[in-house]
Symmetry: C2
Subunit: 352 residues, 2 copies
Amino acid sequence: MSQGSGNTPPKRPLTLRDVSEASGVSEMTVSRVLRNRGDVSESTRAKVLEAARELGYVPNKIAGALASSRVNLVAVIIPSMSNMVFPEVMTGINDVLEETELQPVVGITNYKPEREEAVLYQMLSWRPSGVIIAGLEHTEAAKAMLGAAGIPIVEIMDTDGEPIDSAVGISHRRAGRKMAQAIIDAGYKRIGFLGTKMPLDHRARKRFEGFTEVLAKAKLEIADSEFYSGGSALKKGREMTEAILKRNEENPLDFLYYSNDMIGAGGLMYCLDNGIDVPGQIGLAGFNGIEFLDGLPRKLATMDACRLEIGRAAAEIIAKRVETPDAPGGEVVTLEPSLAYGDTLKRKKKPI
Amino acid sequence: MSQGSGNTPPKRPLTLRDVSEASGVSEMTVSRVLRNRGDVSESTRAKVLEAARELGYVPNKIAGALASSRVNLVAVIIPSMSNMVFPEVMTGINDVLEETELQPVVGITNYKPEREEAVLYQMLSWRPSGVIIAGLEHTEAAKAMLGAAGIPIVEIMDTDGEPIDSAVGISHRRAGRKMAQAIIDAGYKRIGFLGTKMPLDHRARKRFEGFTEVLAKAKLEIADSEFYSGGSALKKGREMTEAILKRNEENPLDFLYYSNDMIGAGGLMYCLDNGIDVPGQIGLAGFNGIEFLDGLPRKLATMDACRLEIGRAAAEIIAKRVETPDAPGGEVVTLEPSLAYGDTLKRKKKPI
DNA sequence: ACGCGGTATGTTATCGCTAAAAAATTTGAT
DNA sequence: ATCAAATTTTTTAGCGATAACATACCGCGT
């Protein structure tokens, strides 16, 4: 009779049985009501819901998942949270999963392969319904786990390589090539490169490779380069730009290619502050298409990495595969990064 | 005899029993080996590990959690992922939890109370070991759930109010007051405010309240204000600054207080581009202390919101409480936001 | 040989829920 | 009324692990 009106914090956690007793039906029926499954008469449904609400019952998904062997989690494994790009991917993933009953669980690897392996193991031990993981490069053990997991795997950001299952991303090599071509077409000759030291950022590396490849075809090569790690990227961009320009004063560079927009923006500010004519005297370009470039005094040339879109597409693949478990899989979505010339990269010269 | 060398992806998912059979010991012993609990002889330990590795067995935490009623998840509920501040809080949380066996699970509310309630319900149904949730304002239902969950709860970002259990943050009222005082002390009189429209951002509201309160004591009030929503904050800051300055040309403002650094930076750039003397003709200040301010041509005055530190402290509270379950709880950590004058806010005038 | 204090392993009984099958109830056509 | 068909509800068995207890084993002093 006395169920208490939910004011006293219960010492023993509530279970289906409590709701069952409070509403006078079997546990199974309560379970059905709470999951909206199977036919339940309107009257018992109301009774049960009322009792559950009254008690403040929250179903135990651990038990539910074990019993039904259905886990509505999607493991998301990304290198970092602190550089704007992955939060945005996350936003895309969230937007899509919000509409489903799937829920993302995030693991951070800090760009360390062994950390990735450990995080993946942790994640898989929750038996998620799918995995979204950044990059195509993983340890052998990680690849084995992913291959054997028997769930949809989507490798994101990059499509230059062999995916384990599905992949969504852009070709970073192509992005590098495209940018190089635009720079060459605009007539720049002495090109400097500025980027991170991080040797494990495969995507930056691939962009660089594509970039130099096209340069080489035009009988050009990187005239000088500068690398950084840690710290405020904007400030670093400024400092590196100063350093590389000063170092090449007697034979000045006419273009600077930055491996991301933050350092690019720093470089742009340095140029503006020092009265350097952009893009006349020197051209600049970054990578990522981060939103705030819009507010800069001059718009930095960049290439959109389609971050939000990648997140959405990856989540959609997982969602679809969860709905139709025997669909084929292996889908590869290559998004086309669009080049934004902005105000720091001259347009192609008129064909002669 | 033939266990297969793990090359064939098994149709039936692996369980303890498989490892048990492969290694010729009981499931319990396998479990003990895999968790490093209890005494197991070196020889069987080796046998078991070898078998597990060979098979590619990954333990099922769902089952483990149910059996042991220990779930090493920490629910983290935040409003958004897209504005720099929460990713940084997440980084702090991650840094600390990485050292423990706890794992964060993130839910995004998009600043919507009803969404928060739903996300919280989802999260609690995983029976996490703790909850870290942004803000002190929640729906009644959400408060009830948090109160009844029987696990450590840490409300973060804000300490102006009554926490349910523990709290880590800064006093946004105090932050507003402090900034107002600094502005008054510097001798500014006609102050404009620029912020987001978001009526549900309680922390921005509290800063505003503290700010106007101190202004009122000095017989001052906000001379004009401007609000925005959506879009590139940097660009909006620029536009809003232009608008508010133009609108007050005949009786010009001498200070602009921005509710975040992004729009503040936009405003700063507008001023610099238009040859406005900062901080002589007009002073500027933002809020957050985001890293990239370092790279701006002039350093915006701001107040650090201690984001990383908040994340760490919150995670530490949870970790400690998980270790010592009968510790008291109710800990409130109020961090002191430090005022950075930068180059856009004059120092206090010498006392007369 | 006996029994003692260990350590090393195995057994049994849940954990809280859901799938599947069985039972009870209602409906409806004759 | 009557019985088959349809609907609603209950019962029975796990899901894959772990806690707690039970047993087997080992060396060793007497």
